[in-house]
Symmetry: C3
Protein backbone atom coordinates (compact mmCIF):
# COMPACT_ATOMS: atom_id res chain seq x y z
CA UNK A 1 0.00 0.00 0.00
CA UNK A 2 1.19 3.50 -0.78
CA UNK A 3 -0.12 7.01 -1.29
CA UNK A 4 0.56 9.42 -4.17
CA UNK A 5 -0.49 13.08 -4.41
CA UNK A 6 -0.81 14.83 -7.75
CA UNK A 7 -2.13 18.26 -8.59
CA UNK A 8 -4.19 19.55 -11.51
CA UNK A 9 -3.82 23.27 -12.15
CA UNK A 10 -6.28 24.97 -14.45
CA UNK A 11 -7.89 28.30 -15.22
CA UNK A 12 -11.65 28.69 -15.18
CA UNK A 13 -13.95 31.26 -16.79
CA UNK A 14 -15.85 32.04 -13.59
CA UNK A 15 -19.39 31.21 -12.54
CA UNK A 16 -21.09 28.43 -14.35
CA UNK A 17 -17.91 26.96 -15.74
CA UNK A 18 -18.05 23.17 -15.57
CA UNK A 19 -14.81 21.44 -16.56
CA UNK A 20 -14.39 17.73 -17.25
CA UNK A 21 -11.24 16.64 -15.41
CA UNK A 22 -11.65 12.89 -16.00
CA UNK A 23 -8.89 12.66 -18.65
CA UNK A 24 -6.22 14.17 -16.35
CA UNK A 25 -7.34 12.00 -13.43
CA UNK A 26 -7.26 8.83 -15.54
CA UNK A 27 -3.80 9.80 -16.76
CA UNK A 28 -2.51 10.16 -13.16
CA UNK A 29 -3.90 6.74 -12.26
CA UNK A 30 -2.17 5.11 -15.24
CA UNK A 31 1.15 6.77 -14.41
CA UNK A 32 0.90 5.65 -10.76
CA UNK A 33 1.06 1.97 -11.79
CA UNK A 34 -1.34 1.14 -8.96
CA UNK A 35 -3.86 -1.64 -9.52
CA UNK A 36 -6.34 -1.47 -6.66
CA UNK A 37 -7.37 1.27 -4.27
CA UNK A 38 -9.13 4.58 -4.29
CA UNK A 39 -8.65 8.02 -5.71
CA UNK A 40 -9.80 11.18 -3.96
CA UNK A 41 -10.39 14.35 -5.95
CA UNK A 42 -10.35 17.49 -3.81
CA UNK A 43 -10.60 21.11 -4.94
CA UNK A 44 -8.79 23.65 -2.78
CA UNK A 45 -10.89 26.76 -2.09
CA UNK A 46 -14.39 27.58 -0.90
CA UNK A 47 -16.12 28.72 -4.10
CA UNK A 48 -15.69 25.60 -6.24
CA UNK A 49 -16.81 21.98 -5.93
CA UNK A 50 -16.38 18.49 -7.36
CA UNK A 51 -19.35 16.71 -8.89
CA UNK A 52 -19.94 13.95 -11.45
CA UNK A 53 -22.37 13.73 -14.35
CA UNK A 54 -22.67 12.86 -18.02
CA UNK A 55 -20.64 15.62 -19.60
CA UNK A 56 -22.76 16.66 -22.62
CA UNK A 57 -23.92 20.14 -23.60
CA UNK A 58 -27.59 19.70 -22.67
CA UNK A 59 -26.87 18.47 -19.15
CA UNK A 60 -24.12 21.05 -18.65
CA UNK A 61 -26.78 23.73 -19.25
CA UNK A 62 -29.23 21.94 -16.93
CA UNK A 63 -26.70 21.85 -14.09
CA UNK A 64 -25.98 25.57 -14.60
CA UNK A 65 -29.70 26.41 -14.64
CA UNK A 66 -30.35 24.31 -11.56
CA UNK A 67 -27.85 26.27 -9.46
CA UNK A 68 -28.96 29.62 -10.93
CA UNK A 69 -32.48 28.91 -9.67
CA UNK A 70 -31.66 27.20 -6.37
CA UNK A 71 -29.07 29.77 -5.20
CA UNK A 72 -29.48 32.86 -7.41
CA UNK A 73 -26.58 35.33 -7.76
CA UNK A 74 -28.81 38.42 -7.57
CA UNK A 75 -30.25 37.72 -4.11
CA UNK A 76 -29.02 39.51 -0.99
CA UNK A 77 -26.47 37.47 1.03
CA UNK A 78 -24.92 38.50 4.33
CA UNK A 79 -21.53 37.30 3.15
CA UNK A 80 -21.49 40.05 0.53
CA UNK A 81 -21.61 42.67 3.28
CA UNK A 82 -18.51 41.12 4.90
CA UNK A 83 -16.14 41.35 1.96
CA UNK A 84 -18.04 43.24 -0.71
CA UNK A 85 -17.07 40.72 -3.39
CA UNK A 86 -20.66 39.70 -4.21
CA UNK A 87 -19.97 35.98 -4.29
CA UNK A 88 -22.07 34.82 -1.32
CA UNK A 89 -24.02 32.64 -3.76
CA UNK A 90 -20.74 30.99 -4.87
CA UNK A 91 -19.86 29.99 -1.30
CA UNK A 92 -23.34 28.55 -0.68
CA UNK A 93 -23.28 26.47 -3.85
CA UNK A 94 -19.81 25.14 -3.03
CA UNK A 95 -20.80 24.24 0.55
CA UNK A 96 -23.82 22.32 -0.70
CA UNK A 97 -22.05 20.40 -3.47
CA UNK A 98 -18.83 19.74 -1.56
CA UNK A 99 -15.11 19.83 -2.47
CA UNK A 100 -14.32 16.11 -2.32
CA UNK A 101 -15.13 12.87 -4.13
CA UNK A 102 -13.65 9.39 -3.60
CA UNK A 103 -13.73 6.84 -6.44
CA UNK A 104 -12.56 3.20 -6.17
CA UNK A 105 -10.38 1.62 -8.85
CA UNK A 106 -9.53 -1.98 -9.70
CA UNK A 107 -7.34 -3.57 -12.40
CA UNK A 108 -5.83 -0.06 -12.73
CA UNK A 109 -9.16 1.43 -13.89
CA UNK A 110 -11.53 3.83 -12.18
CA UNK A 111 -14.85 2.10 -11.53
CA UNK A 112 -16.90 4.82 -13.20
CA UNK A 113 -19.95 4.27 -15.40
CA UNK A 114 -19.63 4.87 -19.15
CA UNK A 115 -21.27 8.32 -18.89
CA UNK A 116 -20.00 9.20 -15.44
CA UNK A 117 -17.41 11.98 -15.62
CA UNK A 118 -15.64 13.87 -12.82
CA UNK A 119 -16.33 17.58 -13.14
CA UNK A 120 -14.91 20.69 -11.50
CA UNK A 121 -17.73 23.14 -10.80
CA UNK A 122 -16.47 26.71 -10.72
CA UNK A 123 -19.02 28.71 -8.72
CA UNK A 124 -17.04 31.92 -8.24
CA UNK A 125 -18.19 35.02 -10.12
CA UNK A 126 -14.82 35.66 -11.74
CA UNK A 127 -12.18 33.57 -13.55
CA UNK A 128 -9.97 31.67 -11.12
CA UNK A 129 -6.80 29.61 -11.14
CA UNK A 130 -7.72 26.31 -9.48
CA UNK A 131 -5.66 23.64 -7.74
CA UNK A 132 -7.22 20.19 -7.57
CA UNK A 133 -5.56 17.47 -5.53
CA UNK A 134 -5.72 13.94 -6.94
CA UNK A 135 -4.74 11.49 -4.25
CA UNK A 136 -4.28 7.79 -4.98
CA UNK A 137 -4.14 5.26 -2.15
CA UNK A 138 -3.70 1.60 -2.97
CA UNK A 139 -1.39 -1.12 -4.10
CA UNK B 1 -2.92 -2.38 5.50
CA UNK B 2 -4.79 -3.88 2.58
CA UNK B 3 -7.61 -3.12 0.18
CA UNK B 4 -10.60 -5.28 -0.76
CA UNK B 5 -13.21 -4.59 -3.46
CA UNK B 6 -16.64 -6.17 -3.34
CA UNK B 7 -19.68 -5.59 -5.50
CA UNK B 8 -23.39 -5.46 -4.70
CA UNK B 9 -25.65 -6.17 -7.67
CA UNK B 10 -29.33 -5.39 -7.38
CA UNK B 11 -32.41 -4.52 -9.41
CA UNK B 12 -34.33 -1.33 -8.72
CA UNK B 13 -37.89 -0.32 -9.55
CA UNK B 14 -36.94 3.02 -11.12
CA UNK B 15 -37.41 6.58 -9.93
CA UNK B 16 -38.01 7.06 -6.28
CA UNK B 17 -36.74 3.66 -5.28
CA UNK B 18 -34.68 3.91 -2.08
CA UNK B 19 -32.95 0.67 -1.08
CA UNK B 20 -31.26 0.02 2.26
CA UNK B 21 -27.92 -1.63 1.47
CA UNK B 22 -26.54 -1.53 5.03
CA UNK B 23 -26.98 -5.29 5.67
CA UNK B 24 -24.90 -6.31 2.60
CA UNK B 25 -22.22 -3.74 3.44
CA UNK B 26 -21.99 -4.90 7.05
CA UNK B 27 -21.74 -8.48 5.81
CA UNK B 28 -18.79 -7.62 3.54
CA UNK B 29 -16.99 -5.91 6.40
CA UNK B 30 -17.42 -8.95 8.66
CA UNK B 31 -16.17 -11.30 5.95
CA UNK B 32 -13.11 -9.09 5.32
CA UNK B 33 -11.83 -9.75 8.85
CA UNK B 34 -10.50 -6.18 8.96
CA UNK B 35 -10.58 -4.33 12.27
CA UNK B 36 -9.84 -0.69 11.52
CA UNK B 37 -10.06 1.47 8.42
CA UNK B 38 -12.65 2.87 6.09
CA UNK B 39 -15.25 1.62 3.69
CA UNK B 40 -16.24 3.49 0.53
CA UNK B 41 -19.61 2.84 -1.08
CA UNK B 42 -19.73 3.93 -4.73
CA UNK B 43 -22.57 3.47 -7.21
CA UNK B 44 -21.55 3.09 -10.85
CA UNK B 45 -23.69 5.17 -13.22
CA UNK B 46 -24.93 8.75 -13.47
CA UNK B 47 -28.61 8.44 -12.52
CA UNK B 48 -28.27 6.98 -9.02
CA UNK B 49 -26.65 8.14 -5.79
CA UNK B 50 -25.61 7.04 -2.30
CA UNK B 51 -27.14 8.72 0.74
CA UNK B 52 -27.77 7.88 4.39
CA UNK B 53 -30.82 8.35 6.55
CA UNK B 54 -33.08 6.62 9.04
CA UNK B 55 -34.75 4.01 6.86
CA UNK B 56 -38.40 4.13 7.93
CA UNK B 57 -41.50 4.52 5.75
CA UNK B 58 -42.29 8.12 6.74
CA UNK B 59 -38.84 9.45 5.99
CA UNK B 60 -38.57 7.37 2.80
CA UNK B 61 -41.65 9.24 1.55
CA UNK B 62 -40.22 12.59 2.71
CA UNK B 63 -36.98 12.01 0.77
CA UNK B 64 -38.97 11.07 -2.34
CA UNK B 65 -41.19 14.15 -2.01
CA UNK B 66 -38.21 16.41 -1.44
CA UNK B 67 -36.58 15.41 -4.74
CA UNK B 68 -39.91 15.51 -6.61
CA UNK B 69 -40.29 19.15 -5.62
CA UNK B 70 -36.68 20.27 -5.88
CA UNK B 71 -35.99 18.70 -9.30
CA UNK B 72 -39.40 17.80 -10.80
CA UNK B 73 -39.59 15.14 -13.55
CA UNK B 74 -42.15 17.06 -15.67
CA UNK B 75 -40.00 20.16 -16.22
CA UNK B 76 -38.16 20.80 -19.49
CA UNK B 77 -34.46 19.78 -19.38
CA UNK B 78 -31.95 20.26 -22.17
CA UNK B 79 -30.55 16.80 -21.56
CA UNK B 80 -33.85 15.31 -22.72
CA UNK B 81 -33.35 16.86 -26.16
CA UNK B 82 -29.93 15.17 -26.45
CA UNK B 83 -31.01 11.58 -25.97
CA UNK B 84 -34.81 11.70 -25.83
CA UNK B 85 -34.90 9.46 -22.76
CA UNK B 86 -36.63 12.05 -20.53
CA UNK B 87 -34.38 11.46 -17.53
CA UNK B 88 -32.65 14.85 -17.29
CA UNK B 89 -34.13 15.21 -13.79
CA UNK B 90 -32.52 11.88 -12.80
CA UNK B 91 -29.06 13.09 -13.81
CA UNK B 92 -29.48 16.36 -11.91
CA UNK B 93 -30.59 14.61 -8.73
CA UNK B 94 -27.68 12.17 -8.92
CA UNK B 95 -25.13 14.97 -9.52
CA UNK B 96 -26.41 16.85 -6.48
CA UNK B 97 -26.52 13.88 -4.09
CA UNK B 98 -23.32 12.24 -5.32
CA UNK B 99 -22.27 8.61 -6.00
CA UNK B 100 -19.82 8.09 -3.12
CA UNK B 101 -19.76 7.85 0.67
CA UNK B 102 -16.84 6.93 2.95
CA UNK B 103 -17.53 5.50 6.43
CA UNK B 104 -14.86 4.73 9.05
CA UNK B 105 -14.89 1.46 11.01
CA UNK B 106 -13.20 0.35 14.21
CA UNK B 107 -13.22 -2.92 16.16
CA UNK B 108 -14.62 -4.42 12.93
CA UNK B 109 -17.79 -2.31 13.11
CA UNK B 110 -18.97 0.59 10.96
CA UNK B 111 -19.14 3.75 13.06
CA UNK B 112 -22.73 4.51 12.08
CA UNK B 113 -25.42 5.86 14.38
CA UNK B 114 -28.23 3.57 15.50
CA UNK B 115 -30.62 5.03 12.91
CA UNK B 116 -28.08 5.83 10.25
CA UNK B 117 -28.48 3.53 7.25
CA UNK B 118 -26.67 3.54 3.90
CA UNK B 119 -29.17 3.87 1.08
CA UNK B 120 -29.02 3.52 -2.69
CA UNK B 121 -31.14 6.23 -4.30
CA UNK B 122 -32.39 5.19 -7.73
CA UNK B 123 -33.23 8.37 -9.60
CA UNK B 124 -33.66 6.91 -13.11
CA UNK B 125 -37.16 6.81 -14.59
CA UNK B 126 -37.07 3.09 -15.32
CA UNK B 127 -36.00 -0.06 -13.45
CA UNK B 128 -32.25 -0.57 -13.56
CA UNK B 129 -29.70 -3.21 -12.69
CA UNK B 130 -27.20 -1.48 -10.37
CA UNK B 131 -23.59 -2.24 -9.47
CA UNK B 132 -22.37 -0.80 -6.18
CA UNK B 133 -18.70 -1.04 -5.25
CA UNK B 134 -17.91 -1.61 -1.59
CA UNK B 135 -14.24 -0.92 -1.00
CA UNK B 136 -12.59 -1.64 2.34
CA UNK B 137 -9.17 -0.18 3.16
CA UNK B 138 -7.59 -0.93 6.52
CA UNK B 139 -5.88 -3.47 8.69
CA UNK C 1 0.88 3.10 5.86
CA UNK C 2 -1.28 3.08 8.95
CA UNK C 3 -4.70 4.11 10.18
CA UNK C 4 -5.61 6.15 13.26
CA UNK C 5 -9.10 6.86 14.62
CA UNK C 6 -9.78 9.83 16.86
CA UNK C 7 -13.06 11.18 18.19
CA UNK C 8 -14.28 14.73 18.74
CA UNK C 9 -17.05 15.04 21.32
CA UNK C 10 -19.00 18.26 21.56
CA UNK C 11 -22.34 19.72 22.59
CA UNK C 12 -24.43 21.67 20.11
CA UNK C 13 -27.22 24.20 20.61
CA UNK C 14 -29.66 22.51 18.23
CA UNK C 15 -30.93 23.52 14.81
CA UNK C 16 -28.88 25.99 12.92
CA UNK C 17 -25.76 25.50 15.00
CA UNK C 18 -22.68 25.50 12.77
CA UNK C 19 -19.44 24.63 14.57
CA UNK C 20 -15.95 25.06 13.14
CA UNK C 21 -14.06 21.84 13.96
CA UNK C 22 -10.96 22.61 11.88
CA UNK C 23 -8.72 23.38 14.90
CA UNK C 24 -9.38 19.99 16.57
CA UNK C 25 -8.90 18.17 13.27
CA UNK C 26 -5.62 19.95 12.57
CA UNK C 27 -4.48 19.13 16.08
CA UNK C 28 -5.16 15.40 15.57
CA UNK C 29 -3.20 15.43 12.32
CA UNK C 30 -0.21 17.07 14.00
CA UNK C 31 -0.29 14.57 16.87
CA UNK C 32 -0.47 11.63 14.43
CA UNK C 33 2.99 12.49 13.03
CA UNK C 34 1.78 11.37 9.60
CA UNK C 35 3.09 13.24 6.55
CA UNK C 36 0.99 12.13 3.61
CA UNK C 37 -2.46 10.59 3.25
CA UNK C 38 -6.05 11.48 3.82
CA UNK C 39 -8.31 12.36 6.69
CA UNK C 40 -11.99 11.44 6.81
CA UNK C 41 -14.37 13.41 9.02
CA UNK C 42 -17.59 11.50 9.79
CA UNK C 43 -20.42 12.54 12.09
CA UNK C 44 -22.31 9.72 13.78
CA UNK C 45 -26.09 10.21 13.68
CA UNK C 46 -28.75 11.05 11.11
CA UNK C 47 -29.62 14.66 11.95
CA UNK C 48 -26.21 16.30 11.53
CA UNK C 49 -23.79 16.68 8.63
CA UNK C 50 -20.25 17.72 7.68
CA UNK C 51 -19.72 20.62 5.31
CA UNK C 52 -16.98 23.15 4.55
CA UNK C 53 -17.13 26.89 4.03
CA UNK C 54 -15.51 30.18 4.99
CA UNK C 55 -16.45 30.41 8.65
CA UNK C 56 -17.46 34.06 9.09
CA UNK C 57 -20.65 35.47 10.60
CA UNK C 58 -22.24 36.62 7.34
CA UNK C 59 -21.86 33.28 5.58
CA UNK C 60 -22.90 31.37 8.70
CA UNK C 61 -26.21 33.24 8.55
CA UNK C 62 -26.50 32.60 4.79
CA UNK C 63 -26.04 28.85 5.25
CA UNK C 64 -28.67 28.84 8.01
CA UNK C 65 -31.12 30.85 5.87
CA UNK C 66 -30.52 28.61 2.88
CA UNK C 67 -31.57 25.47 4.77
CA UNK C 68 -34.49 27.25 6.45
CA UNK C 69 -35.90 28.05 3.02
CA UNK C 70 -35.00 24.85 1.18
CA UNK C 71 -36.26 22.45 3.87
CA UNK C 72 -38.42 24.50 6.27
CA UNK C 73 -39.05 23.21 9.81
CA UNK C 74 -42.74 24.17 9.85
CA UNK C 75 -43.79 22.03 6.89
CA UNK C 76 -45.57 18.71 7.31
CA UNK C 77 -43.23 15.68 7.10
CA UNK C 78 -44.31 12.04 7.23
CA UNK C 79 -41.38 11.24 9.51
CA UNK C 80 -42.94 13.41 12.22
CA UNK C 81 -45.95 11.08 12.32
CA UNK C 82 -43.67 8.10 12.92
CA UNK C 83 -41.92 9.31 16.06
CA UNK C 84 -43.66 12.58 16.95
CA UNK C 85 -40.34 14.36 17.48
CA UNK C 86 -40.94 16.99 14.77
CA UNK C 87 -37.47 16.74 13.27
CA UNK C 88 -38.30 15.37 9.82
CA UNK C 89 -36.70 18.50 8.35
CA UNK C 90 -33.47 17.74 10.27
CA UNK C 91 -33.22 14.27 8.74
CA UNK C 92 -33.82 15.60 5.22
CA UNK C 93 -31.16 18.29 5.57
CA UNK C 94 -28.64 15.77 6.92
CA UNK C 95 -29.35 13.27 4.12
CA UNK C 96 -28.80 15.97 1.49
CA UNK C 97 -25.59 17.41 2.96
CA UNK C 98 -24.08 14.08 4.01
CA UNK C 99 -22.16 12.88 7.10
CA UNK C 100 -18.71 12.39 5.56
CA UNK C 101 -15.85 14.41 4.03
CA UNK C 102 -12.39 13.22 2.96
CA UNK C 103 -9.50 15.71 2.80
CA UNK C 104 -5.98 14.92 1.51
CA UNK C 105 -2.89 16.05 3.41
CA UNK C 106 0.77 16.40 2.44
CA UNK C 107 3.87 17.55 4.33
CA UNK C 108 1.74 16.98 7.46
CA UNK C 109 -0.76 19.69 6.45
CA UNK C 110 -4.36 19.46 5.31
CA UNK C 111 -4.64 20.70 1.72
CA UNK C 112 -7.41 23.17 2.52
CA UNK C 113 -7.78 26.64 1.06
CA UNK C 114 -7.08 29.65 3.29
CA UNK C 115 -10.80 30.23 3.91
CA UNK C 116 -11.93 26.62 3.72
CA UNK C 117 -12.98 25.37 7.15
CA UNK C 118 -14.52 22.04 8.15
CA UNK C 119 -17.86 22.60 9.84
CA UNK C 120 -20.27 20.42 11.81
CA UNK C 121 -23.83 21.28 10.81
CA UNK C 122 -26.28 20.49 13.60
CA UNK C 123 -29.69 20.11 12.00
CA UNK C 124 -31.58 18.61 14.93
CA UNK C 125 -34.21 20.74 16.64
CA UNK C 126 -32.71 20.32 20.12
CA UNK C 127 -29.22 20.49 21.65
CA UNK C 128 -27.28 17.27 21.08
CA UNK C 129 -24.07 15.65 22.21
CA UNK C 130 -22.19 14.80 19.01
CA UNK C 131 -19.47 12.28 18.23
CA UNK C 132 -17.34 13.01 15.18
CA UNK C 133 -14.84 10.44 13.95
CA UNK C 134 -11.56 11.78 12.56
CA UNK C 135 -9.81 9.02 10.69
CA UNK C 136 -6.29 9.46 9.33
CA UNK C 137 -4.87 7.01 6.77
CA UNK C 138 -1.37 7.54 5.45
CA UNK C 139 2.32 7.34 6.13
Amino acid sequence: MKVINEKIELKTNGCGDLINITPEITQFLQTSMMRKGNLTVFVIGSTAAITSFEYESGLIQDVQNFFEELIPPNKKYHHDETWGDANGFSHLRAALQGPSMTIPFDDAELLLGTWQQIVLAEFDNKPRKRHIIVQIIGE
